[in-house]
Symmetry: C2
Subunit: 333 residues, 2 copies
């Protein structure tokens, strides 16, 4: 019996991942680019047991005081992932495990909670199997969890996920450490409701959108431009591209089978405020994942003003301030 503790960040994608060309291997249609979030992390503790049939999950919800046992879909995914990790790491036997997980942020609300959780689990399971894979391998393993964007929470800071030509070349690597650029992500929580359609389901029908091919076409140029804006730290161009990519992804979501509209009236209100603030010289850019909450990407110098401004906004129920963060880490206690 041993205990492994891992902490891993969620990440916000500047170039989004939406759509899978292979839903078994979780291979995306396009590269994506993200920043790990210092204020949105998952901490898990894995306690191994000698009884391989004992596999339990306890979750402490955001702002809750106690751990509750979780069964059903998430536990099934974990059990499957333990098996995937075993084979991936070339092991034969699997111990039993009890996992305790807690988040610093609400889950299933468009803040990649599955990314922080499954990246933590990828690292935790590796240690459980007494393996120390290289970062690249760990990123591939995290991807295979089913939550593709988990692979971006493994490396540090600013991270690029190359789509690759197959499983062994589809992984994420760090473009720059957290200290490279003083970016911030001020997350405006508008709702704690869980979204109705999970990302996994949405990824699979992305291709049914009549706008999907034009998104892929546009991405070629946008990826080139954002890499250059990142290298030169041209924030205004960078921000414009971040917004364009968000709108592009949502335009696909809205027009794919069963049209996914994640935005609410509050989302629109908050976006308008971000644009109005910009007109007045406080430069923030919106980014939205598969949920109604809004991320405001800004520089350190404007973080306080933006967070302060939205603190009293009627649509905003909570604010999480993030700096660029390292990736998944073992916590030595």
């Amino acid at each position: 019996m041993k205990k492994i503790s891992v902490k891993s960040p969620a990440n916000i994608a500047f170039i989004k991942y939406w759509g899978q060309r292979d839903n078994k291997l979780i291979l995306p249609y396009n590269d994506s680019f993200s920043m790990n979030l210092s204020g949105c992390t998952t901490r898990i503790e894995i306690e191994t047991t000698d009884d391989p049939s004992l596999r339990k999950l306890y979750i402490r919800e955001y702002k809750s005081t106690d751990f509750r046992e979780s069964e059903g879909k998430t536990l099934d995914m974990i059990i499957k992932f333990a098996d995937t990790a075993k084979r991936f790491l070339g092991k034969r036997r699997s111990p039993g495990f009890i996992i305790r997980s807690e988040n610093t942020f609400p889950k299933k609300a468009g803040i990649a909670s599955s990314a922080s959780f499954f990246s933590a689990l990828a690292l935790g399971f590796s240690r459980m199997y007494e393996s120390e894979p290289e970062e690249k391998e760990l990123s591939i393993l995290a991807r295979l969890s089913g939550s593709g964007s988990a692979c971006r929470s493994i490396p540090d800071g600013f991270v690029w996920w190359q789509k690759g030509t197959g499983s062994s070349s589809s992984y994420a690597y760090s473009l720059a450490p957290p200290a490279y650029w003083d970016l911030r992500d001020v997350v405006l929580i508008l709702s704690r409701e869980e979204k109705k359609v999970g990302s996994q389901e949405g990824h699979q029908s992305a291709i049914t959108s009549n706008l999907y091919k034009e998104r892929l076409y546009g991405l070629k140029k946008r990826m080139r431009l954002i890499r250059r804006a990142f290298e030169n730290k041209e924030f205004s161009l960078f921000g414009r591209l971040v917004e364009a990519d968000t709108v592009s992804m949502h335009s696909v979501m809205m027009t794919q089978n069963h049209g996914l509209f994640y935005w609410s009236g509050k989302t629109l209100d908050v976006i308008r405020e971000i644009l109005a603030l910009r007109q007045k010289g406080t430069e923030g850019y919106f980014s939205i994942d598969a949920g109604e909450n809004v991320h405001v990407i800004c520089r350190g110098k404007d973080e306080g003003r933006i967070a302060g401004y939205f603190k009293t906004h009627p649509a905003v129920i909570d604010i999480i301030r993030n700096s660029p963060s390292v990736g998944a880490r073992i916590i030595h206690t």
Copy 2:
């Protein structure tokens, strides 16, 4: 002194016009495709006078009882257009005129009120100058009014506006008469507020969107597909393409300079209802112009059910039901 009466429809575009490659000649970047609306019409009366300096405009607003004199921007545009029409039709002298205009629908709310008004004016001014240009020439003249989509309200029924290579080849023509296809446009009025940014201003900065080029790229295929769906009356495919084009245009609007967000929370609510109705077998597709109101494109057999459903919806303050309509017509009284 004489009196000329003209009635002309607004139109709803299935493939939208957004962005001008020439803002003097009002030349668009892409072809567009629309249907004239039987229930959204402008009626104007032009009374000519011998005093060329007398140029007045009286407007009776939607659901108002009396005509009020209108000055400022709209009158300036009309005076300029009278001059454009004079030169276009090869005339030397211009009479004075008093124009009375009335709409069957709210203006500046994303129902092409400028299209019905300026197409009516193009026909009315032609008669004022004692000219009877061919439909093609009249369409070009309507385009030159400044409201480009007015050119689509000249021909009958289902109308294609070819972008052309220059002013003389950029005009609209009828693809099919109103009776060709039993389509309906159920307009859900969510607000009578006038929009803050006019279309003209928006058209000119469309190109600043990082998504504009990918829209143009996608349009090539979408135009081919929608032509074929129209020819074969494949309604489901047709509707999907209509929605895709709406979302594509709005994604450009949202990401162009000063980001135009025309949608409101009510717009999103109503869109979700349209999708939910579709799941239950009542097939309507949304289309949205530069405003928050929502057009539901459906077939005659579903019009009653859709209009009935939204009649009691809290976000909907009025409903206008439209069939395909003829274009601009002189009214003989």
